[in-house]
Amino acid sequence: MAQAVTHDEHHYTSTGLDSWKVGFWTFIGSECLFFATLISTYMVYKGASITGPYPEEILDIPLTTISTFVLLMSSLAMVLALDGVQKGKRAGQFWLLMVILLGITFLGFQVYEFSHFVHEGLTIQRNVFGSSFFVLTGFHGAHVTGGVLWLSILLIRSLRGKLPPGKSLQLEIAGLYWHFVDIVWIAIFTLIYLIQ
C-alpha cells in the first residue's frame, strides 16, 4: 500500500478525475482566450498599415511550411515519448529528446525569420502589421521556449530515473501544453501566413 502511494502521484477531485488534469485543462481553456485576443488584434488591424513592409511582401511561406512541419512532428514525438515513459521503455527518453530538439529547431526558424524581418525594415514599431505580428508570434515563441525548458527538466529527471511509469502524469501534463502550443501554431499558420 505504501509502495502504491509512493508510485501513484494522482490527486483525485470529488469527480474522480485527477486534479492536475482538471486544473490544466482549465488553464488551456483560458489560454485559448489569451491567443484569441492576439489573433483578433492581428485580424482587426490587417491591411491597416500605412507604410511597408506589408505581409505579402515579407512573409516566407516555404520557410514557415518547414517550421510548421517541424512543430507537427514534435507533437508526434511527444505522444511517442509519453507512450514510452508510460510503458517504462527507454524509447520514451529518445522521443523526449527529439521533442526538445524539434522545439529548438522551430525556435531557430523563428529567430531567423524575426532577424530577417528586422533586416528588411519590419520592426515592432514600424507599422501595425509589425506590432501585431511580432506580439502574436513572439508570445507563441515564448510558449514554445517555456515548453522546451519544461521538457528538458523532465528529460533530466527521466535520465536520473525519477520519471517512472507511475509518475508519467508529469509528462502527460507537459504534453498537453506542448500539443496546445502546436494547435495555436496551426491557427497562426493558416490565418496569418496562408490567408493574406
Binding site: 494522482h10 483525485y12 469527480t15 474522480g16 478525475l17 485527477d18 488534469k21 482538471v22 485543462w25 482549465t26 488551456i28 481553456g29 483560458s30 489560454e31 485559448c32 482566450l33 491567443f35 484569441a36 485576443t37 489573433i39 483578433s40 485580424m43 482587426v44 490587417k46 511561406i61 511550411t65 510548421t68 512541419f69 507537427l72 512532428m73 507533437s75 508526434l76 511527444m78 505522444v79 511517442l80 509519453l82 507512450d83 508510460q86 502527460e172 504534453g175 498537453l176 500539443h179 496546445f180 502546436d182 494547435i183 496551426i186 491557427a187 499558420f189 493558416t190 496562408l194 490567408i195
Partner: protein
C-alpha cells in the same frame, strides 16, 4: 476497485504508436495540401474556406488523438470547449464588428 480508481480507469486511454504515426502522416499531408492550394491561382476563390476546413481538421486530429481528448473524460472536453468556443466567438465578433459592419455612425450609401 474504488470509485476513484474506477474513474481513473476510464480516463486517459491511449491509442497505439502505429496509430500516432498514421495521424502524423495525415497532418503532414493536410499541411502539404494547404500550401499547394495557396500556390494554385485557380483555387483562389475557395482559398479561405478550404484553408479553414483543412486547418480545422488538423486541429481536431491533434486535440482528439494527441491530446487524448477522445479517450478522456467529458469534463475535460467541456473545460476545453468552454474556452475554445468563447475564443472563437470573440474572434468572429471582432472581425464582424471591425471588418464587416460599417463604422459606427456612418450610414451605408
Amino acid at each position: 476497485m474504488s470509485a476513484v480508481a474506477e474513474a481513473h480507469g476510464h480516463e486517459g486511454g491511449h491509442a497505439s504508436p502505429g496509430f500516432y504515426w498514421m495521424i502524423g502522416v495525415v497532418l503532414t499531408v493536410i499541411t502539404a495540401v494547404e500550401v499547394a492550394i495557396f500556390y494554385i491561382p485557380q483555387l483562389a476563390s475557395i482559398l479561405v474556406p478550404a484553408l479553414l476546413i483543412l486547418s480545422a481538421g488538423k486541429f481536431v486530429l491533434v486535440v482528439a488523438y494527441y491530446m487524448h481528448l477522445k479517450f478522456d473524460s467529458n469534463v475535460f472536453v467541456g473545460l476545453f470547449m468552454a474556452g475554445f468556443v468563447l475564443a472563437t466567438f470573440m474572434v468572429t465578433a471582432l472581425i464582424v464588428l471591425y471588418k464587416v459592419l460599417p463604422p459606427y455612425g456612418v450610414v451605408p450609401a
